[in-house]
Symmetry: C2
Subunit: 557 residues, 2 copies
C-alpha cells in the first residue's frame, strides 16, 4: 500500500463470508485503526482444532501504523482473538466497561493482563488518531454496553454498526440511541459497514423483554427445581432470570466457570442487580426445598463438557436432576449444535424432567440479538450511506443485505460484497475495490498457534476415516537381505479375527516388493517405500474398500 | 424366549430412540414377522463409518421362526438394511410395486437379486403366518405406495402405521384410506405402533399440492435455466416438477445416479407420467435455450459428491451454472446437514445464481411427509388402541407422542416408551415390558460389516484429534544395546521447523526409558513400551497440550 497517497482504505481480516472472527480496519494515510478481534469455532472438518483466529500478517508488516483496537462489544467472535493479537502487537485497546471486564478475564488466562494497555471509553468518548476522529453511538444487542463507531476522515465519514438490533423496550435501559444515529446520517455518511447475521429473516426480532415474561411464567408453573441455561454473556437475560427467581422466592446457584466469571464481572460493574443473600453455592442446593431453587448454568449449546450436559448424564457431583424438575433452554441452538442439544434433551427426558426447549419462537425463551430485515432497513435509512459494505455474515446473508439496501434506495453497484483481505479504497468520495492484502485462518490447537496446517489436517482426515498401517522391515546393508520383519501394526483400521489373514498377505506383498527391487539392483528407500505403499494400498482397497494411511519404515543395519 | 407359551411379543431392533434403521417384529408362538429393515447414516462422531444397520443376533438365533419381512415403503431408513439382512437370512420379502422396485435396485448392487424371494403385495393382500393374519391399509407419505399393517393374532390386533401423514389433497391419488382405518379401529385394536417423527410439531403438515403451486410459480418467474433438487424418492414432487416444466415449455434433464434410477423405476411402473420427448441427456442441455431447460438433480442435502454440490463448485462436466440461472432447493435440510447445504448456497451466490432456499414454511418448496400433532391424534382417535408403542423417533418425540395419546384418552401407563431390544409381551390382553433381547448398531465401513467396533473408533478419534508418533528402536538381543534408532515419524501431529527440537527431545526420552529398564535388568517389551508411551506422552502434552497416539516399535535382533 503506497502510504504517500492520502487515501481512505477499508478492509476485513475476518468476519465476511463467515460468522465469527470479526476483525475490520480503517486506514487513512499512515494511520490504521482496528475494530474487533474475534475468534471462531471450527466446524467438524477441522479435526482437532480448538479455535480459529485471523491471519494478521498485514498488521505485522505495518505495525508502526497501527494506532489501536476499538472493541464494539464483549462476545467471543469480537474479542476471542485479542490475546493472540497482543502476543504479536502490543497496541492499546479501547472498550466500554463491561467489554473491558470480559477482555481482562481473557488476558488473565493468557498471563497478559499486566502488560496490556486497556483504555476505558463510553458512548460519549471522542478520540483522534492522525486525521481520523472517532466517536461512538449506543446500540442494543444481546450483551450490554455495545457501541457503533463513527470515523470522520478527510475523505468522508465511515460508520461501523457493531452488532445490533432495535429493541425499543430493552432490559436495564440499554436503549439504542436512534437520535444520535439520525444526526450522524444527517451529517452525511460515505460508507456504512453494517452487520448481516439476520439479513435472511423478514420482519423484526422481538424484544428481550418478551423472554422475561415467558421465563417468569415458566417459573411460576414449576413445582420443583428449575435448571435454566443460557449464554453467560447475555446479562439482560440473566437479570430476568434473577428477577423471576426473586418473584417465585427461589435461591439462585450459578454453575459453570464462564457463568460465574461473567456474572461476577457484570455484578461488580453494576450491569446486574442480584439481591443480597440470593446466591448460593452448588453444595448448598440440596439443603433447600427443590421448589426454592433455581440453577443457572452453562451448556445451552450442548457443549459435552459444560454443566448442563453433565447434569443430563447424571455426572455432576453436587446436583442431581430428579423427576418433575424443570429444565429450560433459554437459547436456540446455533447451526451445527443441534445434535448435541437434542442428545441432552433426550437424556433429560430419560431422567423424568420437564424440558422446555425448541426454537425461540416456539417457546418464547430466546430472541435473537441481531437485527432482522426491517431493522437493517431502519439502520440503512437512518445512516443514508453512499456506499454499503455488508459485514458479519456468510455470503448469502451479504447478498440479502445488498437487496435490502437496494430496496431503500442504495444503488446495487454501491454495495461492496467483499471477502476477507479485499480492500475498498476511497478517493475523492469514490470507492473502488481492486486490491487484496494477505488474510486467512490461523488454527489454534492446544498450545500451538498456526503450526497445524493443511498437511497435518489432511493426514488427520485420512487417519480418522480409515486408520493406518505401520510396516517395519530391517534390511542388512551388506547382503541386502531382510533380517527382521516385516512387522505390521494397525490402528483404527481393522480389528477382527479375519485381519490375521489380511496382515499375512500384506507382509507377503512387502517381501515381494523388496525382492523385486533387489533383483534389479535398485535399493533406494524412497522407491521401495513407494512400491510398498502402492501394492499394499491396492490390495487393502480391493479387500476392504478402505484406504488406510500406509507407513513403511525401512531400517538398514 | 420360551416358545411353549403362546404369548404375543412386540419388539424393535431399530427405530426407537433414533431416527433411522427401522426394524420391528411381531411374534406369536413360533412365528416371527419382521417389519422393515432400514439403515441409518452415521453422525460425524463415527469416523469413517458409511452406514449403520441393526444388529440381528436375535433373528439369527431364531431363524427357523422367521416367516418373512413386510416392508411399509421404499425409504432408506426402511429398506437400506435389507441386503445385509438377506446375506444372513434368506427370507421372503413382501412389499408393494414401487417399494419392490427400489429394493431390487439395492439387491442388484449387492449381487443378490437372483436368489431373493420377492413377493408383490398391495393394500388388499391378505396373508397368513401361523396363527397371525396380516392385512394392510393405504397411507400417504412422501413416497407413493405406502402401507400400514394390521396383525390379527389370537391375543388381539396389533397395528403398525408405517410412516404417514393425512394429505387429503394428495398428488397422483395417493389418498390415505381413512374409512378402512376407522373400520380397523371399530373392530378393536390392542396395540398401536405409530410413528413419532413430528410429535413435537403442533398443527398439521401442509399438503404436497402446496409445493406444486410454489414450484409452478417459481418456474414461471425464471428466465434462464432452472436447477431444482429434491429427494429422488419423492415421486409426487418429481411429478409436480415434470408438470411445471411442461407448463413452462421446458425440457427436463435428470442428473445423479439415484435420480435416474428412481425416476426410471417410477416411470416403468406407472407412478410417474413424463410426456414423450421431454427428457434430455446432460450432453444435450447446452443445445437448448436456457429458458427451455429444467435440471432435476440429487444433492439437496448438501452431499459433497452429489450433483448439486459439483454444479455449485463448477465441477460438473456437461453443465455450468451461469448468472441469473434459478436454483431451487425443494427439500429442507435434515438436522446435521445444515452446514453442507449453506456452503452450497454460498457457492451458488458466488456464481450469480438466484437461489430459492430455506425451511419449507418460508419458501413453500417443501412439506414434511410425517404427521404433525393433530394428525397423530387423528390416527390415535381412528384406531382407539388399548396400548400405544410410539416408534420411529428420538426419545423426546416418543414422550411427546405419549402426551398426545393422553390428550385423546389413552392412559399414560398404557403407552410403552421402549428402547431397541425391549420386548413388550401381551398375555390375556395385558401388556408388560420386562424382557430384553440383543440389539445394537452394526457399522458398515467399506466392504466390512461389523468389523469396526469401539476400539477402532476410539483409535480413529485419537488419530483424528492429535495425530500420531511412531517410534522405532532396534535392540541387540545379546548385548541389550540400541543398535538403531530411535527413529520417530509423526503424522497429523506437528509439521513445523520447531518440531525438530521436539523430536530430538522425544528420542532422548526414549533412550533414557530403555536404559533405565536395562539397568534394573528388566527387558520386557510391554513394560518398555508402556514407559516410553508415558514419558513421551507427558513431555508432548506439557509442550503442546496435545495427546497424539504414541506407537513404540521395538525390534530385537
Amino acid at each position: 500500500m503506497s502510504s504517500t497517497e492520502n487515501i481512505l482504505s477499508i478492509f476485513a481480516l475476518g468476519g465476511v463470508n463467515e460468522i465469527g472472527k470479526n476483525m475490520y480496519a480503517i486506514q487513512f494515510a499512515n494511520d490504521i485503526i482496528l475494530i474487533d478481534c474475534g475468534s471462531k469455532f471450527p466446524d467438524e472438518s477441522l479435526l482437532g482444532i480448538d479455535l480459529i483466529i485471523p491471519d494478521i500478517t498485514y498488521l505485522q508488516d505495518n505495525k508502526e501504523k497501527i494506532r489501536g483496537l476499538l472493541v464494539t462489544h464483549g462476545h467471543e467472535d469480537h474479542i476471542g482473538g485479542i490475546p493472540y493479537l497482543l502476543k504479536q502487537l502490543n497496541i492499546p485497546i479501547y472498550a466500554t466497561r463491561l467489554t473491558l471486564g470480559l477482555i481482562e478475564i481473557k488476558l488473565k488466562e493468557h498471563g497478559l493482563l499486566g502488560d496490556s494497555q486497556l483504555e476505558l471509553i463510553n458512548s460519549d468518548s471522542d478520540l483522534h488518531f492522525g486525521e481520523i476522529r472517532v466517536t461512538f453511538f449506543k446500540t442494543n444487542h444481546s450483551i450490554p454496553d455495545c457501541l457503533g463507531i463513527v470515523f470522520q476522515t478527510p475523505e468522508g465519514t465511515v460508520v461501523h454498526t457493531g452488532d445490533f438490533k432495535f429493541d425499543l423496550t430493552p432490559v436495564n435501559n440499554q436503549y439504542p440511541d436512534i437520535h444520535r444515529m439520525a444526526e450522524i446520517g444527517r451529517n452525511g455518511v460515505l460508507v456504512l459497514l453494517s452487520e448481516s447475521t439476520n439479513a435472511e429473516r423478514p420482519g423484526s426480532t422481538p424484544s428481550e423483554r418478551m423472554v422475561g415474561e415467558h421465563i417468569e411464567e415458566a417459573f411460576k408453573k414449576a413445582n420443583r427445581k428449575i435448571i435454566i441455561s443460557t449464554f453467560a454473556s447475555n446479562v439482560h437475560r440473566v437479570q430476568q432470570i434473577v428477577d423471576a427467581s426473586l418473584k417465585t422466592d427461589r435461591k439462585l446457584a450459578l454453575l459453570g466457570r464462564s457463568m460465574v466469571n461473567v456474572v461476577s464481572v457484570a455484578m461488580e460493574q453494576g450491569y446486574l442487580t442480584v439481591p443480597e443473600g440470593m446466591l448460593i453455592d452448588a453444595q448448598e442446593i440440596n439443603s433447600f426445598a427443590p421448589e426454592k431453587v433455581t440453577i443457572l448454568c452453562t451448556g445451552s449449546q450442548g457443549e459435552p463438557l459444560a454443566v448442563l450436559a453433565r447434569l443430563a448424564s447424571s455426572n455432576y457431583r453436587d446436583v442431581e436432576i430428579l423427576p418433575e424438575d424443570t429444565v429450560i433452554f433459554a437459547a436456540s441452538p446455533i447451526p451445527g449444535n443441534e445434535r448435541n442439544v437434542t442428545k441432552i434433551i433426550d437424556n433429560l427426558y430419560q431422567l423424568g424432567a420437564k424440558v422446555i426447549y425448541g426454537s425461540g419462537s416456539s417457546t418464547g425463551m430466546h430472541v435473537s440479538g441481531h437485527a432482522y430485515q426491517e431493522e437493517l432497513k431502519l439502520m440503512l435509512t437512518l445512516m443514508k450511506p453512499k456506499y454499503l459494505i455488508p459485514i458479519h455474515g456468510e455470503l448469502r446473508m451479504l447478498h440479502h443485505h445488498r437487496s435490502l439496501a437496494e430496496s431503500v434506495g442504495i444503488e446495487k453497484e454501491n454495495t461492496f460484497i467483499i471477502s476477507n483481505g479485499d480492500v475498498v479504497d476511497v478517493k475523492e468520495s469514490e470507492a473502488r475495490q481492486t486490491r487484496k492484502i494477505p488474510s486467512g485462518n490461523i488454527y489454534v490447537d492446544g498450545m500451538g498457534v498456526g503450526d497445524v496446517g493443511n498437511i497435518v489436517l489432511r493426514d488427520r482426515k485420512q487417519l480418522a476415516e480409515d486408520g493406518m498401517l505401520v510396516i517395519v522391515v530391517t534390511l542388512s546393508k551388506a547382503e541386502r537381505k531382510i533380517i527382521s520383519g516385516p512387522d505390521t501394526i494397525s490402528r483404527g483400521f481393522v480389528y477382527t479375527r479375519d485381519s490375521d489373514n489380511l496382515i499375512k498377505e500384506v507382509n507377503r506383498l512387502v517381501v515381494t516388493a523388496i525382492k523385486e527391487l533387489q533383483e534389479v539392483n535398485r535399493h533406494q528407500w524412497s522407491v521401495m517405500k513407494q512400491n510398498i505403499k502402492k501394492s499394499v494400498g491396492q490390495y487393502l482397497y480391493s479387500k476392504t474398500k478402505r484406504k488406510p494411511m500406509i507407513l513403511p519404515i525401512i531400517i538398514e543395519l
